[in-house]
Symmetry: D2
Subunit: 308 residues, 4 copies
């Protein structure tokens, strides 16, 4: 069956069965309620099998990630920070880009995460004395989406990068998943940047080292599942249940899905009713992790005190 849209490497059907895929290394770690999976695509066989570029894809998963449970929250922030540290250059300035549309709740994760990032680039001349010499230079923008600005996000990003010359970029984005249970319970961090056509907002062009000229770390959380994916899943279950021969009915199924998708479901997304609250919580998790990764020489208490 055709592969339905997912921005998570972990959801690639090639990995579904738990079978080893040539060109792909998978490692999994359990940390209490948190599961950390590292998928590494090392060559062209892996790229083809997973339909994603070569690089590291770290996934943090916890059923309760969307809830304000202090211990889990702290561990998640900590693993996010450690993963980012491992992917970022050790020194140099960083630009954080929040992708997505602030006015569409499910797509506002990026802009909201950026709101919580400790920005220091403008403090150069007048850094507070007590943190002098301990701040990494950070700037942060939420450039808006093509439909709202009329300008490709990557064009705006390139313009800003040429003027401010950061050493690396962190791009935060709301993702689409295949499984509804992943909404706000999974976080993906990858050193391959943002792929064209990915995200809730369907970025036309991607953001990567090739397009921007500096390393791009992408951080994302699934916020929606396309309704078409739900329909497809229901059909697959039915086929299984009725013990129909999947091969035999494959064409009829594809045609049917096309019809459902095109005529009725279009761009509709499935999201929890509590999406407003969850996007706020997940954005906070991401800002905390990014701040901890970028400002390693500040204590946990110093960061919020500098935010205002």
């Amino acid at each position: 069956m055709r592969n339905f849209r997912s921005d998570l490497a972990l959801e690639s059907s090639a990995l579904a069965g738990g079978i080893q895929v040539p060109g792909v290394r998978v490692e999994q770690l359990r940390l209490g309620d948190l599961t950390e999976t590292v998928v590494e695509i090392v060559d062209e066989r892996g790229m083809a099998a997973l339909d994603k570029p070569c690089g590291r894809y770290v996934t943090l998963e916890a059923n309760q990630m969307h809830l304000p449970e202090p211990a889990l929250l702290d561990m998640t922030v900590d693993r996010l920070a450690e993963t980012l540290k491992g992917m970022l250059p050790e020194l140099g300035s960083v630009l954080v880009i929040g992708l997505g549309n602030r006015r569409i709740t499910a797509d506002s994760l990026g802009p909201r995460a950026v709101d919580g990032v400790l920005v220091t680039r403008h403090m150069r001349e007048n850094t507070p004395v007590h943190v002098k010499g301990r701040l990494r230079e950070v700037s942060a923008v939420a450039p808006g989406v093509l439909g709202v600005t009329g300008i490709e996000t990557s064009e705006i990003a390139r313009g800003i990068i040429e003027h401010t010359k950061p050493d690396a970029v962190i791009a935060v984005d709301a993702l689409a998943a295949k499984e509804t249970c992943r909404i706000c319970t999974t976080m993906q961090i990858t050193d391959t940047g943002i792929q064209p056509g990915s995200g809730v907002g369907n970025h036309r062009l991607g953001l990567s080292q090739e397009t921007l000229g500096v390393p791009v770390i992408a951080v994302g959380v699934p916020m929606v599942v396309y309704a078409a994916t739900i329909a497809r899943d229901a059909l697959e279950l039915l086929i299984d249940d009725l013990e129909m021969d999947e091969e035999e009915h494959s064409d009829a199924l594809d045609a049917l899905v096309d019809r459902v998708v095109e005529k009725r479901l279009g761009d509709l997304v499935v999201a929890p009713r509590e999406v407003d609250e969850r996007v706020t919580h997940m954005a906070e998790l991401l800002s905390l992790g990014i701040n901890r990764a970028l400002q390693q020489r500040l204590s946990k208490d110093e960061i919020p005190a500098l935010m205002h």
Copy 2:
């Protein structure tokens, strides 16, 4: 097949085929791009067939209702106002209640509509001179949902009604539909009030003349479709397409839907990605119509000028 959840009388499967249902009168009117359907349930046969109480259900439909097209907007507001006038007592004070949770976008239609209602009850002593004697007494509240206040909406409503003694209530609510194409393109006005368990927020108790002691007109717009409904629809299409015998597979199907619903879809809803913008637009339509119905002796320009 089991009837999936819809708050629209028009979506009752009994009416689906266009066949006459005993105890139900249906009339339809085309007004340019707007279709107005009046479903009247006149006796117990109708109640049983449509699973709704006796009364009038007026539905306004337009594919472009969610868009800011001035001509369509004006006609919709006009028909909403006329329909409300026909259901409200001619004189006396009115309390507008906005149901739903302001912090959940898809459920915030009621509170937002209430924000735009011209409230006049507190002006009694100091009404602006130029409108003196022309204002109908209106009050408006958005009492919040059970999960947020700990109190049943109907308890709060009863308390307020006992103290302020309105002659009628208009209750505004976000609805659930069966068809995704109805989201923000349909409006239902009924003199039967709000039924228990209806709405996006699943009101446990209803709001009606029986529970509140005064006539209750309910106005609603579908904002979501339950994801389970989408799955069900996909399966029905498949059955049709494969020319399977529906009866034969009925039990397998029901079991399958239960599994999908319970294990995977839960309370998930399908909504357009632009739900934030659409709820704002639809709430504005509703406030305009309610204000026009309630303040018939004010001109269209006097109403906004009094709002502030």
Copy 3:
């Protein structure tokens, strides 16, 4: 000079000089960066001198209260909780009322604080097993202001109280202060309830044991200073500076202030530009303190986990 408007007992001019006022007991405590002052008005002399009803007024002050400094935040929340515990009945259900207008940032403190209160009243039948028997019954409403609902807040409150019969009320409100330095740096807790005409929103009627029939604890934070107060202050400073005889010019001054107030400043308020962010922070402080006071048998981690 006339006394300019303040909702803080601490700002009463009678207390300004630090002189003992008959009928008033004042005690002050320093807790690191936090100052706690208890003003107790014990008889009619005190009432007349401070123009406030008999009762306890506890004020918490810290210059950095508006900043997210974890240690100070924790101490403030702790002292707020302890003060509330001392004023609330030991057992029984509590209704938290958030006063003010959600759509006016400086007046939205009450509704926002209520958003963060752990509501348990509706859990009676299905309390999560692990907290069974440890929850105090709490409900919470933000009834909106007279100008928005057309109904006096106290009428709505009375209606709800008659139906839900709480044993005590906590009313949260945004206050007006005389000194700009108090905005978001001071918190007042009093067992005398809300006085008529107080608050940013100028409640016409008060909320107190007399009007509601149950004990009313009021919690407030100054969010604005009336612009007229600023003008007055500037004039007083000028008089002092020029060594003018205050008595001699008193009438001219009063006339001048009236002119400035009436013609030019009206209802204008002075607020920090960052009021949006500060009201969010202060509302969070208040919810944390209220939750800790009401749910003494839950741990700090159990409360947020139950919020959703």
Copy 4:
């Protein structure tokens, strides 16, 4: 007396008396409730007297501008559109920049106005057929403020302009005025761009033809008055009233104002309590006017229909 901060050419003290200022041309027009004033600074004498660069400053004033009165609204939008047309190049693409901080209500005018601008640049390939050939190319960004992004607004603007090469820029900003009565009742349009240090947000660098390389039209509405200005005004009135000799007391006054400003008022601003609602209304006025100026070949109804 020192000139207190105002972004309005009309409030320059040189113009206060209604005396002719060399190097400045002033023309005034009454259009019903709307007053349109054109101040033209033509040479260095005018620049020195008004402390603003050479160019046109058009001011639209109406006491009721902040109210939703349809006739006044339409006239204001019309005059705004006509003034913009007179300043913009006849053809070519336009970039609209919304200055200010979205999270500070009084400073959010620019970003909110940009939200309502019809953006067309991305439609180049797939313009809806019925408007083909009638759309002017427009893009729009709200780049955020230095304190939030760490990057000067003008740096971001330059980066975007280099990549998208617009023929002109419209910059929208919240202004500071001297008179509280101007808040949300006055609109200034100027072909001189944004001056360094102006606006509610105090832009460090300006935006003008010199810094950006293309014509920059600035549109602004006063949203605040600095509290220090109120104090100063009160003092001036007192001086007048007491028939004191202003010259004689000038030093004492200056010292006093400094003390009040520095010690007590700082960055405090005076704003109406209804600032949230007013900024929404004024932003809508601005978007309507900008859209009408830029899309002259679309009807009033076509513009909203294309917005979504």
